[in-house]
């Protein structure tokens, strides 16, 4: 299991196109991947656009990405990197 935290810096947060990009990238890995706010217990499936949208992650939110599986380290790092990049909105 491998976890990383990243803060959303783009204006629209994890909504609309950024949410869609995030889920697409997550689906390209074999590992089971979840995300949650570090202060919350419940994590949601990162490969589910509906679950991601339901969380209402907005700009400034810190997200903890947890991956478990053969490519867990690469998966968590790639997703954190996508968040840091601002989804091309910067």
């Amino acid at each position: 299991m491998f976890s990383m935290q990243a803060q959303l810096i783009n204006a629209s947060g994890l909504h609309a196109r950024p949410a869609s990009d995030f889920v697409k990238l997550a689906k390209s890995f074999a590992s089971r991947i979840t995300v949650r706010r570090p202060e919350q217990a419940d994590a949601v499936n990162a490969k589910s656009i509906v679950m991601i949208l339901s969380q209402g992650f907005c700009k400034g939110t810190t997200i903890e990405i947890t991956a478990e599986g053969p490519d867990e380290e690469a998966a968590a790092m790639a997703l954190a990197e996508l968040i840091h990049s601002g989804f091309g909105e910067m």
């Binding site: 909504h15 499936n45 490969k47 589910s48 656009i49 509906v50 679950m51 339901s54 209402g56």
Partner: protein, 577 residues
């Protein structure tokens, strides 16, 4: 069963005769019961997987078709495709089948409904609105699972005779008009949304056909005679021959009228009549008009899940102004409620929607919505001649409130240094009798008026124009309607202010001579009717029209008026020969 031909009748709109194959539009679905099974789950999982593939294929097909036609709605279906591939929902559905032993359709019902509610409860309205997408996909999967035909209007094969109980703007927004040979509906009439759409596109349509959905079999050869208002399923050969020859002479007439299409409409004694066009943002043709008498802005709100923002509206209004190329554009502010509802603006259900909170009444209540539209319209006015038309004005108080808000928005644009046309004319739709009776006072205050004869007639006659049971009471040619029209025209002529007619009556070739005789010099209709109306105007003199109008005003019943018009037409055509 097979072979027996079926004949149904209804109200003919938009003319023409067409042959095609029927498609029955059933947007609703039978209730999904919570069925459980005892057998191994594998076949149910396989059925679910099959439905996923089929739905994905349908959605990609719709996306491609809409993209090819340059339609924004393609995005909605691209987003639905993404939801269809949602891993969490997939896991849950499989779980519900394998563990709870629910049938695939019941499992989809349970899981998709649960996720839709999850989104509907979020605080962000943009995300909450996506719940509708989940429910839409749910229905798509269930249709496949129940072996029902897809209810998509965007993927119909060419030569389709579309049969429906009724068609809403949100349904028809997806239609590819080139594939629709004819339209048959159980509800509707001359002035309903479907009629206006069919006329604009020149598609033969027969509406108010009772029991059409039960009587007409799917995927059957069907002939639609929108001249007589008849629908024939499996027509016999002799009938086909007859219909084809009728179609040929109709086309000949249409061809003869086409010569007039791009000409100026002038009476035989040289009085020019300005011909306007009613447009709705799709398939608009402004080439044959003198001005745009009605730009319905509702279209922007139809095929989207969220309200269009100011910038989106501005871009669309600019596009229309540019397309008009110097011709005056009459932009009517949002006219929804009544028979028009839109998904992005859910409204409370009313017992009497036509007497309810619709059009201006609605936008005066939803100030932010109104402001963003007025801002977008005013900004676009800097790019070409435009006037703003408020729908559903019942009193001068209504007009003053709308005008005050428009002035407020103008001051806002002033402080921001945004350009707009300062002397933009502000006018009213006359469709409510209370303002029609005060036409002289209205003419003094407003810059112009446009008469919506459809609603004016329904309010004057107290007959719901969509209710087939009172169709005979909806009297377009009632002497009361004619007298009302004459008074409005006199009042505006005296005040020296422009008045035009933009209702269905303006495009009705039976009515044109009468309207000119009553004093109207501006008539606006869909571009499909231009050729026929101009041809009619070029066939009479103002003097003849005036005499006809005087006779009509002396009639005591609609029946007498119609008889008079029929006699006049047969005399006219006798002279032509």
């Amino acid at each position: 069963m097979d072979g027996a031909s079926i004949r149904l009748t209804g109200i003919a709109v938009s003319g023409g005769i067409a042959f095609g194959h029927t498609f029955l539009y059933h947007p609703e679905l039978p209730e999904i019961r919570c069925d459980r099974f005892e057998t191994p789950p594998e076949p149910h999982i396989a059925a679910y997987e099959h439905s996923l593939h089929a739905a994905a294929e349908q959605l990609s097909g719709i996306c491609r078709s809409l993209q090819a036609r340059g339609r924004d709605a393609a995005q909605i279906f691209a987003a639905q495709l993404e939801i269809l591939q949602d891993e969490e929902m997939d896991i849950c559905v499989r779980g519900a089948i394998a563990e709870e032993r629910l049938t695939a359709a019941a499992a989809v019902e349970q899981v998709y409904e649960q996720f839709a509610q999850l989104l509907a409860q979020t605080a962000d309205p943009l995300i909450a609105a996506r719940a509708a997408d989940i429910r839409d996909i749910k229905l798509r999967l269930q249709r496949v699972l129940l072996g029902l035909e897809s209810a998509d209007l965007s993927l119909l094969p060419p030569g389709t005779v579309l049969v429906a109980r009724d068609l809403f703007p949100s349904d028809t927004a997806l239609l590819d008009p080139s594939c629709i040979a004819a339209i048959v509906t159980e509800l509707g009439n001359q002035t309903s949304h479907t009629a206006i759409l069919a006329k604009g596109l020149g598609i033969p349509a027969v509406l108010a056909v009772r029991g059409a959905m039960e009587a007409i079999p799917p995927h059957t050869v069907c002939a639609v005679d929108a001249l007589s208002g008849e629908v024939f399923c499996r027509p016999e050969e002799a009938l086909c021959v007859h219909l084809r020859s009728k179609q040929a002479s109709f086309q000949e007439d249409a061809l003869r009228q086409q010569k007039y299409r791009y000409r100026q409409a002038v009476t035989t004694d040289g009085v020019p009549i300005e011909i306007g066009v009613n447009i709705g943002g799709q398939n608009d043709d402004l080439a044959s008009c003198d001005y745009c008498g009605l730009f319905r802005t509702e279209f922007l709100f139809l095929d989207r899940q969220i309200l269009p923002d100011e910038q989106t509206q501005f871009a669309e209004y600019c596009r229309v102004v540019e397309q008009a190329d110097g011709k005056l554009v009459t932009l009517r502010t949002l006219d929804i409620g009544g028979d028009k509802s839109v998904p992005c603006l859910p409204l409370p259900k009313e017992d009497n929607p036509f007497l309810g909170c619709r059009a201006l009444r609605l936008t005066l209540n939803r100030r932010e919505l109104f402001r963003s539209q007025l801002r977008a319209a005013l900004r676009a006015s800097a790019y070409g001649p435009m006037q703003i038309l408020y729908p559903m004005v019942g009193s001068l108080t209504d007009f003053r409130r709308a005008k005050a808000l428009t002035r407020e928005v103008m001051r806002e644009l002033d402080t921001e240094g945004v350009p707009y046309r300062r002397d933009i004319p502000l006018g009213i739709m006359i469709e409510i009798p209370s303002i029609a009776l005060l036409a002289d006072m209205a003419a003094d205050e407003v810059d112009f008026a446009s008469i919506g004869t459809n609603d004016l007639c329904q309010y004057l006659c107290a007959a719901d124009r969509l209710n087939p049971a009172v169709a005979e009471y909806y009297e377009t040619f009632s002497p009361a309607v004619l007298r009302c029209l004459r008074e409005i025209c006199r009042a505006f002529d005296r005040a020296g202010k422009p008045v035009s007619i933009c209702g269905e009556m303006a495009g009705d070739t039976r009515a044109v001579k009468l309207l000119v005789g009553l004093g109207y010099r501006r008539l606006s209709m869909s571009s499909g009717q231009h050729a026929a109306v101009k041809a009619a105007i070029c066939g009479f003199s103002l003097e003849e029209a005036r005499v006809l109008a005087e006779k009509a005003l002396a009639c005591r019943t609609q029946e007498e008026v119609l008889r008079l018009l029929d006699e006049d037409r047969s005399c006219g055509s006798a002279l032509l020969v």
